[in-house]
């Protein structure tokens, strides 16, 4: 049987029924069943000692709990460990530890400035929210596991012998044919369906077409015509490992009937969990690796082990999946960093105020007789005041952190964002973002109605930060559906005009007129394959093919009236124009990746002629053309088709002499039965027959891309996002697809560089050449992509990691073919280690690791099953629509739903260093206001650590008043979807902050400090600072931003804080300075200012925004009125008194005007005179003005070396390197591109190399 020409199959797919590899498949009889049964203990011992597992086939001893059952569990928690585990996880974050510390300190009444409830309340609330969210997520995981676990699976058990009932009669009595070696069939009933979780190692699992494979199976039989074998024996296989490419096992039979009683099994004999059975009516296999939870016997052991080992899935995929780590968003990580930074700042504040407090206490307070300081104080007395201040300052963290979070994010995006996210609402907002993904109608798969789903609700904001998209090919970019499009038969091109050969009148005419060349061509298409036609009752014929290519060819032939009707053992029935033609298949010369062609030898039953039919890649077929034949037309055709992105196959044939065939046939049989070097010898023998071929023509097949893929990739690339394609596919196929979906720009702009080689040296050389080329060409407006195959990748990652990393940074596009799942994951890891944000998309089980590794994993729930989407953070249907806006979040879903990309989180608002916001506004600035007021207050309260605000107000402020506007900020859109899609470049500006050059530590620290001081001190010098700020922002690095930020949180918000504070204490001086009143005035000032800040930062007011902003304000009053009406509350009647005073309202208006005036002025100034690209778009969008070109972005990789551009050497165009025909030999291309690269060696001295290295590789 031929291996498909097209290896468009993902590695996980069922490759071949193993029975073919073992035509003499070993057989045993039932009588010997119990021959070799061992006791429990002995087996276990055996397993432990040999590190092997022995799988006793169909051992119905179910109590055998040696191996785990097939229960899948993706759950993170159990009912018992939820609380401790979740708490542990939450507390592993610095911020939470900090909060706990604060909360504990608050329990000490001596130092607590406010009621402990004001910290414990929010803390518990926050933890509860997080825990609930986790629990909910876990519950959903449990549900989906349960669904998978309870799926029905048919298991063959030793049953009562029953009548043959055929396959389709009764579901519950499917019969397995058991072929005994003397070809007597014995039938066994297939037992009832069991749940997937109950499948045990050793069970024989019965699968029908389109079933999902529940666990790793060793195939023992399929529906293929060669029949089935049912074996009794033991499979000896290694303990589970994660390498999905290897499986070295032996099958022993009881008793050893045949001489070679050990029958080797390889990975080809297995089908792995979560694959789907395709194109095979049924298959059955022995479960060898199952589930992921140990059997109950080992439960106790496992508890011990679980502390040391990862207890997981024992199936290959399960193990290769790796441990999913909780994903922290960039922002989360930054928050933690920032918490540390703010903590340090706090310590400084605390020390300063603490010392001041103690000094004041000793000099002044002792004189204040009414305070009654004791003469002698305990040893800890000195600590009390600093600790009090620490607690007061702690108010600053939760809030300013999120503020910082926003600013930080904004800085990363090269713009400042002032969403008022705060600590509590952050999680809620994230969930809401996630919900919007779930809800979006435009992301619903139109065909199946599968909506998109955000599994991980915590990382929404990272969608906008993606810089690299790593995508699977098959099923993601392409539909995995091949369609015959064009052909060239003996020099005549068909289908060139219409684009579809099947509709080409000329071809149809040629068929009807019976042009011999065409008929032969079609015959090869129809029968040179391993396709099995299936005729349904209605007469319609469907084809079962392992290779989509072959299926496409056969279908096309059928459309052209040469219908492949039946495959009856070796007899093939062809129907042509009503007449039936029979061919007898004599031999099949299988496809191998070395030969790159396949042939069949058939005998025409009418004439008795023996014919060799071949099809294969041009470079393996054309050289074997008969001496006289001109092959130029064909190679031209191949070139032409390849340029169109089509996959090409050359078809050829030769009539064989009876003698020649007979002679060859015996050689072939001999070669086939050799044990040593069989493959090589068979290939050699095949070679002897495949010569002097009569080339019939070239067929071109289209691997259809998903709709809209090229456009979407184009859009995303415009937005500055880099694409990497990681596929298990072959190099040429991958390149073709890459070309056709705009991964690589067509010649002359694009250029492909190949890295390959089998040995270290070769790979090294290849890699260096590519690197050199890359460095030189990157200054040109060229699209340079590199192509690497799995083998070279393995070597490169192992030995030349640094060079490869550099390459990864330099190139915007890469194609990695023949990549294993773990390699895919490694690549993601590599990019992540360079501090890039990655998004991985895939649909198959082989993408799971990559998806989990990536910052954002997107799974497509499509034909390949649900494994990918289960593991992913976002799952989308395979036919979702193209573009989705998520709150101005650009979520682009490529074509029929294949790619999801989000941008900007709605944070397009601001542009480079939006000065006004940095200085004046602040998310949750209110709390900083509070903090500042509090600390200012501390100076007028004798540095004693009295809180200006009462506990209730503090708590309410943190939890409530500041949260709601934040929630609504989610809904704020800066730009409409349409605009964003039209100008994807804008996304680039959101990310541009990440492309900044790193400068020295001292440099940025000094500068940021300077700016903090400058900005803090010189609010008046606005205009000067705007310019200054804008220029500095470009140079600043993110960390610099961090410090700048901290400075600004303090200084920037100090402005508004001081406004509130100064106005309050002056307006409420003397007889009005009653504490409750003053605090309420200050608090309402904060609220008013906050509402104004939110309002001014909101870009689009929907009803929700209005509700949140003004409703919040009203709610503030309502709540305070209610509290004021309670006699027991501290602020009884306060609010009523205030509201009656005209001076209160006058004060409020003053606070708003004084606090917001400068903000508005600055914002206006920036907007009009220093407008950013986003501002421009906003104006254009809302005023209907013309949109000027934003200019094309050519996102440069980080750390460009400008001087390289002086070395502008024109790269010789190596057209063929790009347009490799589908099945052409790759080394060809390598040589070319490598050859062109070598000449640059002169220009690059080694020292330069290393220097650019260190600059390019971002060492983390």
């Amino acid at each position: 049987m031929a291996v498909p020409l097209n290896t468009g199959y993902a590695t996980s797919k069922l490759e071949e029924p193993p029975s073919r590899h073992h035509p003499s498949a070993p057989i045993a009889t039932q009588a010997t069943r119990s021959f070799h049964r061992n006791g429990h203990c002995r087996r276990e011992l055996l397993n432990r000692l040999t590190m092997k597992r022995f799988v006793y086939i169909n051992d119905d001893d179910l109590s055998d709990d040696l191996y785990c059952d097939n229960r899948i569990s993706n759950r993170k928690y159990t009912l018992l460990n939820f609380l401790p585990k979740n708490l542990w996880e939450q507390f592993s974050r610095f911020m939470n530890q900090y909060f706990l510390l604060i909360a504990c300190l608050q329990l000490w009444p001596l130092i607590t400035p406010v009621n402990p409830a004001s910290t414990w309340g929010p803390l518990i609330f926050i933890f509860a929210v997080s825990a609930t969210k986790e629990a909910w997520d876990d519950y959903n995981r449990y549900l989906s596991d349960k669904k998978a676990n309870e799926k029905e699976v048919w298991v063959v058990r030793q049953g009562v012998k029953k009548h043959v009932k055929g396959f389709n009669t009764v579901n519950k009595a499917i019969v397995v044919y058991v072929l005994v070696f003397d070809r007597v069939a014995v039938e066994w009933e297939v037992s009832m369906a069991v749940q997937a979780q109950d499948v045990r190692v050793g069970n024989i699992v019965w699968l029908r077409e389109n079933d999902e494979v529940p666990c790793d199976l060793v195939l023992i039989g399929t529906s293929e015509p060669q029949g089935i074998c049912y074996v009794e024996g033991v499979i000896e296989c290694p303990n589970p490992d994660r390498d999905i490419r290897r499986f070295d096992a032996n099958l022993r039979l009881f008793p050893p009937f045949l001489d070679n009683d050990v029958c080797p099994l390889t990975i080809k004999n297995t089908i792995l969990q979560s694959c789907y059975l395709r194109n095979t009516e049924w298959a059955c296999g022995v479960a060898v690796y199952t589930g992921n939870v140990y059997g109950w016997l080992q439960l106790l052991l496992s508890i011990v082990y679980s502390l040391l080992l990862f207890l997981g899935n024992e199936t290959k995929l399960g193990m290769s999946r790796g441990v999913p780590e909780p994903k922290l968003t960039a922002v989360d990580a930054m928050i933690d960093k920032l918490t540390g930074a703010i903590f340090v700042f706090q310590i400084v504040v605390v020390i300063v105020l603490g010392i001041a407090g103690n000094v004041w206490k000793d000099t002044e307070a002792r004189k204040q007789w009414y305070v009654q300081y004791p003469k002698e104080s305990p040893w800890y007395e000195l600590l009390v005041i600093p600790l009090r201040f620490e607690l007061l300052c702690s108010i600053m963290i939760p809030i300013s952190i999120k503020e910082a979070f926003n600013k930080l994010k904004a800085y990363r995006e090269f713009m400042v964002d002032d969403k008022h996210l705060d600590f509590v609402s952050l999680d809620l907002v994230k969930s809401l973002y996630a919900k919007f993904i779930d809800w979006d109608n435009e992301m619903v798969d139109l065909e199946t109605g599968t909506p998109s789903h955000a599994t991980n609700t915590a990382i929404s904001e990272d969608l906008g930060q993606v810089e690299y998209i790593l995508t699977d090919k098959t099923g993601t970019l392409t539909e995995n559906k091949m369609i015959f499009k064009r052909c060239c038969i003996s020099g005549t091109f068909y289908g060139n005009e219409s684009g579809d050969a099947l509709k080409d009148v000329e071809l149809l005419n040629a068929v009807t007129s019976g042009s011999p060349d065409v008929i032969r061509f079609l015959t090869v298409m129809a029968i040179c394959n391993t396709v099995i036609p299936m005729q349904s009752k209605s007469g319609a014929i469907s084809y079962k093919a392992q290779s989509q290519d072959e299926e496409a060819l056969v279908r096309a032939a059928a459309r052209l009236h040469i219908v492949f009707v039946r495959r009856n053992a070796n007899i093939l029935d062809i129907k042509f124009n009503g007449s039936a033609i029979e061919y007898e298949v004599l031999d099949t010369l299988e496809f191998t990746s070395d030969r790159k062609r396949m042939s069949v030898v058939v005998r025409d039953c009418r004439s008795g002629n023996i014919i060799l039919l071949s099809k294969g890649a041009d470079e393996t077929v054309l050289p074997h053309a008969s001496a006289g034949q001109q092959t130029r037309t064909f190679s031209e055709a191949v070139d032409q088709y390849a340029q169109l992105g089509l996959r090409t196959l050359c078809l050829a044939w030769r009539e064989l002499e009876e003698d020649e065939y007979r002679e060859w046939s015996s050689m072939f049989k001999e070669a086939n039965s050799t044990l040593v070097d069989r493959e090589w010898r068979v290939a050699e023998v095949c070679q002897r027959l495949e010569h002097d071929l009569d080339i019939l023509g070239v067929a071109a097949i289209e691997d259809r891309l998903q709709d809209g893929v090229p456009e979407t990739i184009e859009t995303l690339r415009k937005a500055g996002i880099n694409f990497w394609m990681l596929t298990g596919d072959k190099q040429n196929t991958a390149i073709q697809i890459a070309l056709s979906c705009n991964f690589v720009s067509p010649e002359p702009k694009g250029q492909l560089l190949l890295i390959n080689g089998k040995t270290e040296d070769e790979v090294c050389r290849s890699l260096e050449r590519v690197l050199l080329t890359m460095r030189i060409t990157k200054s040109e407006p060229k699209d340079v992509a590199f192509v690497v195959d799995g083998w070279a990748l393995e070597i490169a990652l192992k030995h030349y990691r640094k060079a490869f990393t550099e390459l990864a940074i330099l190139s915007r596009t890469a194609i990695c073919c023949r990549a294993t799942p773990s390699q895919k994951a490694q690549l993601v890891e590599l990019l992540k280690s360079c501090d890039y944000r990655t998004l991985a998309i895939g649909d198959g089980g082989n993408d799971v690791r990559m998806i989990q590794q990536a910052d954002i994993g997107v799974g497509i729930s499509g034909r390949e099953g649900l494994q990918a989407s289960r593991a992913a953070d976002y799952s989308i249907g395979s036919k979702s629509e193209i573009v989705v806006g998520l709150d101005g979040n650009l979520v682009v879903v490529i074509g029929d739903g294949e790619m999801l990309m989000a941008g900007g989180d709605g944070d397009f608002v601001l542009s480079q260093g939006d000065f006004s916001k940095i200085i004046f506004a602040g998310p949750n600035y209110g709390s900083s206001v509070q903090f500042n007021s509090t600390s200012s207050f501390s100076f007028i309260s004798g540095v004693s650590g009295t809180s200006l605000f009462n506990s209730v107000s503090l708590m309410a402020y943190n939890v409530f008043y500041t949260s709601i506007p934040v929630l609504v900020s989610v809904l704020d859109k800066d730009l409409s979807e349409a605009t964003v899609i039209q100008h994807p470049q804008i996304l680039f500006y959101c990310q541009a902050g990440r492309l900044l050059n790193p400068s020295t530590f001292a440099g940025w620290f000094g500068r940021s400090l300077f700016h903090a001081v400058c900005n803090g001190g010189g609010h008046g010098l606005v205009t000067v600072a705007v310019v200054d700020e804008a220029t500095v922002m470009v140079d600043d690095q993110r960390e610099a931003a961090l410090f700048l930020l901290i400075g600004k949180i303090i200084t920037g918000n100090a402005f508004q804080a001081i406004v509130v504070f100064v106005i309050t204490i002056h307006a409420y001086a003397f007889e009005k300075s009653e504490m409750e009143e003053v605090s309420m005035v200050a608090l309402s000032g904060c609220i008013w200012l906050q509402a104004s800040v939110v309002a001014i930062e909101t870009n689009s007011f929907t009803i929700l925004q209005h509700l949140a902003i003004w409703g919040n304000l009203i709610a503030f009053y309502a709540i305070n009125w209610i509290v004021s009406a309670l006699p027991s509350s501290g602020m009884y009647t306060i609010m009523f008194r205030l509201c009656r005073q005209p001076s209160y309202w006058i004060t409020m208006i003053l606070i708003v005007a004084a606090g917001m005036g400068p903000v508005l002025a600055l914002k206006y100034f920036r907007y009009t005179y220093r407008s950013s690209k986003i501002n421009i778009l906003q104006q254009a969008e809302r005023m209907g003005g013309p949109i000027l070109s934003l200019g094309n972005i050519e996102p440069q990789p980080r750390s460009l070396e400008k001087d390289v551009s002086t070395l502008s050497i024109s790269q010789p165009k190596s057209r063929n390197a790009v347009y490799e025909p589908l099945l052409s030999d790759s080394p060809n291309a390598t040589r070319r591109s490598a050859g062109s690269a070598t000449q640059f060696d002169f220009f690059q001295s080694p020292s330069r190399l290393s220097s650019s290295y260190s600059r390019n590789c971002k060492d983390n």
């Binding site: 400035p113 307070a365 004189k367 204040q368 007789w369 009414y370 305070v371 009654q372 919900k435 809800w439 979006d440 435009e442 806006g885 998520l886 207050f937 007028i940 004798g942 004693s944 009295t946 809904l971 859109k973 106005i1063 204490i1065 002056h1066 307006a1067 001086a1069 003397f1070 007889e1071 300075s1073 009653e1074 504490m1075 409750e1076 009143e1077 689009s1100 007011f1101 929907t1102 009803i1103 006699p1127 501290g1130 005073q1141 005209p1142 001076s1143 006058i1146 005007a1153 004084a1154 005036g1157 508005l1160 002025a1161 206006y1164 907007y1167 009009t1168 005179y1169 220093r1170 407008s1171 421009i1176 906003q1178 104006q1179 809302r1182 005023m1183 000027l1188």
Partner: protein
């Protein structure tokens, strides 16, 4: 007209029916089938509509993020208008506030130093003020703010600067007194103040919680440090009655301080702080205490002492006899006696008026600047963007 039309329609339908009736009475099975098919198709369509409608409801504009939105942008017109508006509303309000504040007549007299010569030695001073038996009576003649500077030097005859209409509020003002000190502000027990049952709730009151073994009512530093200077006013040698009723908040009298709570063991032994309380009057009537216990947020504060319910004419001379009991000498605090009328904006406080005038002025100034900028460089907008682009290209 309408009727005609409907009539016409019914006619035509009638003719159609007639035509129909001409058809054979039996119908082909296929016809029926066809009709059924059509019917079912219609039904399907209807259901489709329905489900669509349902879906529409489900996928509301909220979930699809398509709520109608107002998207304001900062056009020059808007911004300039806003600033002008702020300017022209703020200036009148500022003027009004300033005017109101100016109309308030206020007489402030610092008497702590005046009643005691500052050149006396500090320890003597403290001995004097701490000694309950020393004579602390001090006679002052109140004057306007303008001349108060002179009051330290000699005793002169001072006059009311302007006519003061009743009620005239009498405040005492303390400076450098930290009623907001953490240790101080927390040292009280609201439960104890509220009702008799809370008498033993004294755990917050440290260090003034117990006298011997008995709880002090009202406990805590605040009550203990009760202000105890007293003032007696006379006008033309005739005593002016000071109304000390209703100087505390009504809410305090009714809810915070219980009518069944009587002072107990207050200032009875050990350290004596400030004023004493009449043990036979319930807390709900001890208005001085209530006023004092409304702690001030700032270290300089005024508290209401009483009211004078008669008008004072300009140039009238008031004499005050002060019992200078309260010890501010120890920490250098100030004591001032304040007589003040009031206005809609409160006492004399120019801050709001001036702030309003400033903000309004600045806003107008900004508005004018923006207008000028707009005239001379109407839209830096696109030009700038292009320039920037050029700059980028230059790089």
């Amino acid at each position: 007209m309408n009727q005609e039309m409907t009539a016409g329609a019914s006619k035509s339908s009638a003719t159609a029916a007639k035509k129909h009736s001409k058809k054979p009475k039996y119908r082909l099975a296929s016809e029926i089938q066809q009709e059924l098919l059509e019917g079912s198709l219609k039904l399907k369509a209807a259901f489709g509509e329905l489900s669509k409608a349902g879906r529409r409801l489900e996928d509301s504009r909220f979930t699809q993020q398509e709520l109608p939105a107002w998207k304001p942008i900062l056009t020059p017109a808007w911004v300039i208008a806003a600033f002008v508006l702020i300017g022209i509303t703020f200036i009148p309000i500022g003027l009004a506030s300033l005017f109101a504040s100016e109309r308030v007549v206020e007489i402030v007299d610092r008497y702590d130093d005046g009643c005691f010569f500052l050149n006396t030695n500090q320890s003597l001073l403290l001995d004097y003020i701490r000694n309950p038996k020393s004579n602390k009576t001090c006679t002052r003649r109140l004057t306007s703010l303008l001349f108060s500077v002179l009051s330290n030097l000699t005793t002169l005859i001072f006059q009311v600067p302007k006519k003061m209409r009743s009620p005239i509020y009498i405040y005492y003002q303390l400076g450098n007194f930290y009623q907001n000190h953490r240790r101080y502000v927390k040292s009280r027990s609201d439960k104890q103040l509220r009702s008799r049952k809370g008498e033993d709730e004294i755990k917050d009151c440290q260090p003034i919680a117990k006298s011997g073994e008995k709880p002090i009512v009202p406990c805590g530093l605040i009550a203990w440090s009760l202000f105890n200077d007293t003032y007696a006013f006379s006008l033309k040698n005739k005593a002016l009655t000071v109304d000390k009723k209703d100087i505390a908040w009504k809410s305090d009298k009714e809810h915070k301080f219980g009518s069944d709570v009587y002072p107990k063991n207050f200032q009875s032994d050990g350290l004596i702080g400030g004023g004493k309380l009449n043990h036979s009057i319930p807390l709900s009537e001890q208005e001085d205490l209530m006023v004092w216990m409304r702690t001030a947020a700032l270290p300089t504060f005024r508290k209401l002492y009483g009211k004078i319910t008669v008008d004072l004419e300009a140039n009238e001379t008031i004499t005050v006899v002060i019992q200078n009991n309260y010890n501010t000498y120890e920490f250098g605090g100030e004591k001032k006696l304040v007589l003040s009328t009031t206005s809609w904006i409160g006492g004399k406080n120019n801050f709001l008026g001036i702030a309003y005038l400033c903000v309004g002025g600045i806003c107008l100034f900004l508005a004018i600047n923006f207008i000028l900028m707009y005239i001379f460089r109407p839209r830096g907008f696109y030009a700038d963007a292009e320039e920037e682009e050029k700059d980028e290209e230059d790089y």
